[in-house]
């Protein structure tokens, strides 16, 4: 294991030098001694090459998209185009302060304005705010909009939001943060919303319905029109969790099939990097009647150019970010949309769907699939056969995949499929790459039979072997004990 950066520190070493002090005023003449730190913070001291030789080997311990397939379901780990990385590093984008006069921000403002328009067109919704910093914050923003809409109409009694049992955990957590009660909707035998159950729980207290479509089983909710009409009949609002929008690009506009609002995950659908867990970006799109409630500011355009539009601030839910959200992520998404155009985006959805179905066809004889029908951009296999026959569970299979050079799928989710493995290959994988992943999965199925010990011990070839999570929670060692 690599030493920590604190263990390789050498007193007096410097990685960067600043110009000499000019003016040089003694600190205690400008800031009272009372406020000054007595003992300097023990920041490690290293030369630049020491720093490089610490972080570059660390990077090599990561799996990443450019090493191999990264089939995390509902995460859309597609390739991140290098062009977008180069373009976003233009100093004229990097070195902009958020409070500069608008006249000096016109290039970035135009880009964001056009991105708002493009996302509105892609979603079939009327207006878009780019402010939320991530998908979960997009959800929070959307649910706050629902809350504010109902309260603006005096409907303060609407206290519940309905969410399917297959939903991402962020959905109920976001609703709780806004103050809603969450009512869980059952899935039916076909992996879709159970309409009879829905009818039994919808009433005048229903503020809205949060749905992922395609859902986390990778299935299109084909009763969407009826669901929307049930929810709308009690003046509830239909929220789309846009995590799986990749499957719908150019095929379906959410705003035209019953949804009133949604969030986008720019880091999933629009190829911006996931950054090891962020920054992402979670814009929110709404229909006209919800537009007055969007966060402020939006990016507007008039005859003088582009500007921060606060015109709806009296009705707005307010703000969810100090400034305007994760601008550098938005720029990349704009570059991506400009590169692909309408046909390219539709082609993305088609190939994402074909890749997922192809992969399912390759492994379906080896792994149980609870909902065996054509899927959208992802599907859920499971290890119930392997568990029953050989005592091998999904965790073991996931870890063995790491040995074979692949990242594991999303595991044990959705919760309604026991031993779930949620697989989303994305459109940027080639047929060869899918063949190789399927071959690894089939090999593992074979190993379950012939050498189950191998699976219990996996992974064997990774930078560390299976990690003790229980001990981590017990130790709660979350920072290095720096020595003086």
């Amino acid at each position: 294991m690599s030493k920590t950066i604190f263990e390789i520190s050498v007193p007096g070493c410097k990685g960067v030098t600043l110009p000499p002090r000019d003016p040089d005023i003694p600190l205690d003449e400008i800031i009272p001694q009372d406020f000054l730190r007595e003992k300097p913070a023990r920041i490690p001291e290293l030369s630049e090459i020491d720093v490089m030789r610490h972080f570059i080997p660390l990077s090599q311990k990561n799996h990443c998209i450019e090493k191999g397939l990264y089939p995390l379901g509902s995460c859309t780990m597609k390739y991140n185009p290098k062009l977008n990385e180069t373009l976003v590093r233009n100093p004229a984008f990097q070195n902009l302060h958020p409070l500069q006069p608008e006249s000096t921000l016109q290039g970035t403002l135009q880009t964001l304005y056009e991105l708002q328009q493009d996302l509105a067109e892609i979603s079939g919704l009327d207006k878009v705010s780019l402010q939320p910093a991530a998908g979960a914050q997009g959800e929070f923003t959307g649910i706050r909009i629902i809350f504010t809409y109902h309260h603006s109409k005096g409907n303060t009694h609407k206290h519940k939001i309905i969410i399917p049992d297959s939903a991402h955990g962020t959905n109920p957590a976001s609703c709780a943060l806004v103050g809603y009660n969450v009512v869980e909707l059952k899935s039916n035998a076909y992996g879709r919303c159970d309409l009879a159950h829905l009818k039994s729980i919808v009433d005048d207290n229903t503020a809205g319905f949060m749905l992922t479509n395609p859902n986390t089983l990778g299935l299109f909710e084909d009763q969407i029109e009826e669901i929307a009409s049930i929810i709308h009949s009690v003046d509830g609002l239909m929220y789309l969790d846009g995590a799986n929008l990749n499957a719908l690009l150019g095929l379906v506009k959410p705003g035209k099939i019953g949804f009133d609002l949604m969030h986008f995950n720019l880091h999933k659908t629009f190829a911006t990097p996931h950054g090891g867990g962020g920054p992402g970006s979670g814009p929110v799109g709404v229909c006209d009647k919800l537009a007055p409630f969007l966060p402020v500011p939006l990016i507007g355009k008039n005859d003088k150019g582009y500007f921060f539009d606060y015109s709806h601030q009296n009705t707005s839910i307010g703000k969810v970010h100090t400034f305007y959200g994760n601008v550098a992520v938005m720029l990349r998404a704009y570059f991506y949309i400009r590169t692909l155009g309408a046909n390219g985006l539709r082609r993305v959805a088609e190939n994402a769907i074909i890749n997922a179905n192809y992969l399912m066809a390759l492994i379906k004889d080896y792994y149980h699939i609870q909902y065996p029908e054509y899927c959208m951009h992802e599907f859920v296999a499971d290890s119930t056969w392997q568990k029953k026959e050989y005592g091998i569970n999904t965790l073991n299979i996931a870890k063995r995949l790491l040995d074979k050079g692949f990242h594991a799928p999303t595991v044990y989710f959705p919760l309604i499929v026991p031993e779930a493995m949620m697989i989303e290959p994305t459109e940027t994988e080639s047929k060869d790459s899918l063949d190789a992943f399927a071959a690894a999965m089939i090999e593992i199925a074979q190993e379950c039979k012939e050498n189950p010990e191998l699976l219990h011990n996996a992974p064997l070839t990774t930078p560390v072997r299976r990690v003790d999570d229980v001990l981590a929670a017990k130790l709660l060692d979350t920072s290095f004990p720096i020595k003086d």
Partner: protein, 449 residues
């Protein structure tokens, strides 16, 4: 087709293997009438060369802080970033990975987060840091929610000198739980301690103070802390500038309970305000109440040191509506930039950044104070790298006039509820003495009446 490797021939082979004749058979589940009948109305696709040309044109419509001299702050700062930061952050192994769900192939990400957490603890003096939040505003909002989880008290006192945009975000985040937000008065650009004292009662769950505050002034935390903790249940939440902690007392020294702040200044480009990242640190006995991801050290089956995401039972993917937060991501790559930045600067380098920022800002403040009709708003109050100036004309006009001289003069405080003649000026180590003198001269030559 860009970024889609499969040829039409391969696509055909794949459809055959699936057992269908056309793509349309795969989307039978989508009712025919819901499907789009015509292509999206987007501009035509651009080649790499065309896009580069378009983007260069767009970028040329911006005027950035390399072209004009920047004295803007208010939460986002133009500090120097060493070249090696971007070299490391640009490694695909770091930026194309996701949340380290599979620890065995994510040790790189996990270890730098552990190191980042250590650095935040060292700067703040606290015991445990999370893996970061979206920005300084959400970090402080989540801190207030955490205080409610801890003591169930539904009143929070907010210092009037915290960033006004933080207040808006706090209002968004706390509206749902019916928290009562109480605002104190200011005195000399700081929280009025007598007013705070009068507003304290047994139902106050937290007091939120920013230092240096929105106006750049350093709050008297030792005295304020005693007032806050006059109710033993009340938690002291602070929002701090991490650069300032190189030379200012760490929040642990004044018994802060939760320490948050905006981390952008640590090695992250401004990008018109995002991405930013918020840091969040507290005492270990409140670890299970914390929001966000946390990395912990452990061992693998061979006893080798390893890192993993820990205390996950607090989080939304397990606890759903009972989670401590809805947050799923952190701002991982921004914390990597911060970790590399701090490693390159080292102990002395960070002190140098903070010291030079303080020296240069005080130098400029003195210069401006000498200009007829200009004055410092709070001449008796200590500040760090940012200060408010009272101008003889509206700040908006000063900003426009200075813009003509290629200077971003500062932030107009009028939109934040201050007098229209107040201008907030930030100075970092990047400014040369010449730039400071040019600023003062430009202002002097305006000859405002």
């Amino acid at each position: 087709m860009p970024y889609i490797p499969n040829t039409d021939e391969e696509r055909k082979q794949m459809l055959e293997k699936i057992g269908v004749h056309s793509f349309e058979e795969l989307i039978q589940a989508i009712p025919e009438k819901l499907r789009l009948k015509k292509p999206l109305n987007l501009t035509s696709p651009l080649s790499e060369l065309e896009l580069t040309q378009l983007v260069n044109l767009l970028a040329s419509q911006n005027i950035d802080t390399q072209k004009f001299s920047c004295f803007l702050g208010a939460g986002v700062y133009d500090h120097f970033i060493p070249a090696a930061v971007d070299t490391i952050v640009s490694r695909p192994e770091f930026y194309t990975a996701y949340t380290p769900y599979q620890a065995e192939v994510s040790q790189g990400t996990l270890q730098y987060i552990y190191e980042y957490q250590t650095l935040i603890c060292e700067l703040t003096g606290m015991e445990i840091s999370n893996a970061s939040m979206y920005d300084g505003a959400t970090a402080v909002a989540e801190a207030i929610l955490m205080a409610v989880r801890k003591n169930r008290l539904k009143k929070a006192i907010i210092s009037p000198t915290i960033h006004p945009e933080f207040i808006k975000v706090i209002q968004s985040y706390t509206a749902g739980i019916g928290l009562e937000l109480i605002f104190c008065h200011t005195k000399d650009g700081r929280i009025d301690i007598d007013d705070l004292t009068s507003k304290m009662d047994e139902n106050v769950g937290s007091v939120v103070i920013q230092t240096p505050n929105f106006l750049g002034n350093i709050e008297s935390m030792n005295e304020l802390e005693k007032v806050v903790h006059s109710n033993p249940k009340t938690l002291l939440i602070v929002s701090v500038d991490p650069i300032s902690l190189a030379i200012l007392k760490p929040p642990s020294s004044y018994k802060a309970d939760i320490v948050t702040g905006e981390g952008q200044a640590l090695g992250n480009n401004m990008y018109m305000g995002g991405p930013l990242f918020g840091f969040f640190a507290t005492h270990k006995d409140m670890a299970r109440l914390m929001p966000g991801r946390i990395v912990g050290a452990t061992v693998d089956v061979e006893g080798k040191k390893a890192y993993t995401l820990t205390l996950q039972t607090r989080e939304q993917h397990i606890r759903r509506e009972k989670a401590t937060s809805n947050i799923c991501s952190n701002q991982s790559l921004c914390t990597l930039a911060a970790t590399v930045y701090l490693s390159l600067l080292g102990k002395e380098g960070l002190i140098e950044v903070a010291t030079q920022s303080a020296q240069k800002s005080h130098f400029l403040a003195q210069e401006i104070a000498y200009i007829p009709k200009f004055s410092l708003c709070y001449p008796e109050t200590p500040f760090f790298k940012e200060f408010a100036v009272y101008c003889p004309v509206p700040a908006k006009r000063v900003i426009q006039d200075m813009l003509n001289k290629h200077i971003f003069a500062g932030v107009d405080l009028k939109p934040y509820g201050y007098d229209e003649n107040t201008l907030l000026i930030a100075v970092t180590e990047k400014k040369t003495r010449t730039e400071l003198e040019e600023y003062a001269n430009a202002l002097r030559e305006m000859h405002y009446e």
